[in-house]
Every structure is written in C-alpha cells, then in structure tokens.
C-alpha cells in the first residue's frame, strides 16, 4: 500500500475513469494497493438527485463503483499487454445498507473499495462510504470492465 504523496499514479487512476462532468463523483485517490483503494469524492448540489442541499445515500453506490473502477485502472497500470478497458459499469448490487437516508451535498465523502473476487470482465467489491467519520453506506457491488 502506498500513500498519495508518494505515488503519482493516483491522479491517473481518477483521470482514467470514463466519467466526466457532474457524473464524476470521485475526486482523489488517497491510498491504493492490489485489490484495495481509499479515495475521496463529492456529490455536487447540481446533481439530478440533489434537493435542498442533500442527496440520497444510495447515490454513494455510484461513488463506490467509481472507486472500484479507479482501483482496477491502477492495477492495470502495473500490468503489461492488457487491452484498454472502460471501467466503472455498475452491474450488480448484491446487498447494500444505508445507515442514514441522505447526506449533505458538496461535502467530502470518504470511500473504500476492496476486491472480493473477479472473473474478468466482472468483479465483486465490498465498499464503504463515510462522511465526517460516520459510516453511511456499506455494500457489495459488481462492476464490469468492457474492452474499448
């Protein structure tokens, strides 16, 4: 595991996401290692699901999927001969628990994603999202990485 301050690949991990504009919720990778990523994200008040400065907690599933996609992208940077793939398709939510119903918009969200299993192009990740130190979501999600 490495820190953000010693690994310039982390910015690249976010940059490799196919999401842009309001759809890109992930802002920074804090730490990463094989099958693990810790990152920061934010949902803007302009998001379609934002209302009165709040956003529903289930929106953080997308943040978790983007963290998992960044992790996959970083892992692939170390591999050779791997074809370019588009990461970040959320294809399954095996289970998810929302500890609070909604969250403040424009507030840093802390997200972790751990790889549970993979059979390319599908992968299963356990994700957790917290805000101001309080966990607000845990989930097991499936993502798909398609060849470009």
């Amino acid at each position: 595991m490495t820190s953000a301050f010693s690994d310039p690949r982390h910015g690249l991990g976010v940059g490799l996401l196919p999401h842009s504009g309001a759809a890109r919720l992930l802002t920074d990778v804090v730490r990463s290692g094989p099958g693990f990523v810790e990152a920061i994200g934010k949902v803007g008040a302009e998001h379609p699901l934002a209302s009165g400065g709040r956003v529903p907690s289930f929106l953080c599933l997308e943040l978790g999927a983007q963290a998992a996609a960044a992790m996959e992208a970083l892992d692939r940077l170390g591999g050779a001969g791997e074809p370019a793939r588009r990461s970040g398709y959320l294809v399954r939510v095996r289970e998810a628990s929302f500890i609070v119903p909604d969250l403040p918009a424009d507030t840093p969200l802390h997200v972790t994603a751990r790889l549970e299993s993979a059979a390319s192009p599908l992968a299963i990740h356990r994700i957790s999202v917290s805000v101001e130190g309080s966990e607000c979501l845990t989930a097991v999600i499936g993502t798909f990485s398609g060849t470009r």
Binding site: A22, P48, P101
Partner: protein, 119 residues
C-alpha cells in the same frame, strides 16, 4: 427522500390502462443524468434506475419512504436517451420491501428488492 425528477425521468401514460403496479417513464434526452455518463456513449447510470423505481413507488404510494437496504439488484440492459420504460412493482419477500423490475422494449433492464424502514 425523493427529489423532483420530472425534468429528467418523465412520467408518461402506458400503452393501455395500466395496472396499479405498472408505471411508465420516458428518459429525457436532455436529462442531466447524461452529463459525463458517458460523453461518447450516453447511458443512464445504475443509480438512476433506482431513482426510477423509487419514483414509481412514490407515485403508487403517494408518499415518501425511507430506503434502508437493497438486495439482489441486477442491471442487465443499459437505458439510453429517449428510452421509454415500464416499472413494475410487487410485494417483496422481506417485511417492508418492494420488488421492482424495469423493462424497456420488451427486455428486462433492472431487477431488485428495495427495503424500507417500517411504517
């Protein structure tokens, strides 16, 4: 918490007198959901499918409910700008739960279980 969605996911009448557990929407081609998702191939994010299911439930029940969990959600078909979708709701297998299915052009797009706080 179900924010206003009508500018992005537009309720429309079904092709025939619908049963009370079937709700139709059109995905607005101008929807903000497509901003950056993705630039060369716009598709509706998975969480917007959940928003569709919750919007249908809101129209059925006439009130907001607190979502506490999801189980067994599968996204099997992408939804694109202009797609018309049917959201089917039925009683779930757990207390305070609702099973939902989203269909588009005769194909299942999404399936899953929404679990709510009691009451």
């Amino acid at each position: 918490m179900i924010p206003p969605l009508e500018t992005d996911l537009i309720p429309i009448p079904g092709p025939s007198a619908p049963p009370s557990d079937s709700w139709w929407f059109r995905v607005s081609p101008q929807s903000r959901w497509f901003d950056g998702h993705f630039d060369d191939e716009p598709i509706l994010p998975g969480i917007a499918h959940l928003a569709l299911a919750l919007a249908a439930l809101y129209r059925q029940a006439g009130r907001d409910r607190t979502l506490t969990a999801l189980r067994g959600v599968r996204f099997s078909r992408p939804l694109r700008p202009g797609d018309e979708v049917e959201v089917l709701l039925s009683e779930g297998t757990e207390p305070s739960s609702v099973r939902f299915e989203i269909r588009c052009q005769g194909q299942r797009a999404t399936l899953g279980l929404l679990v709510f706080a009691p009451g």
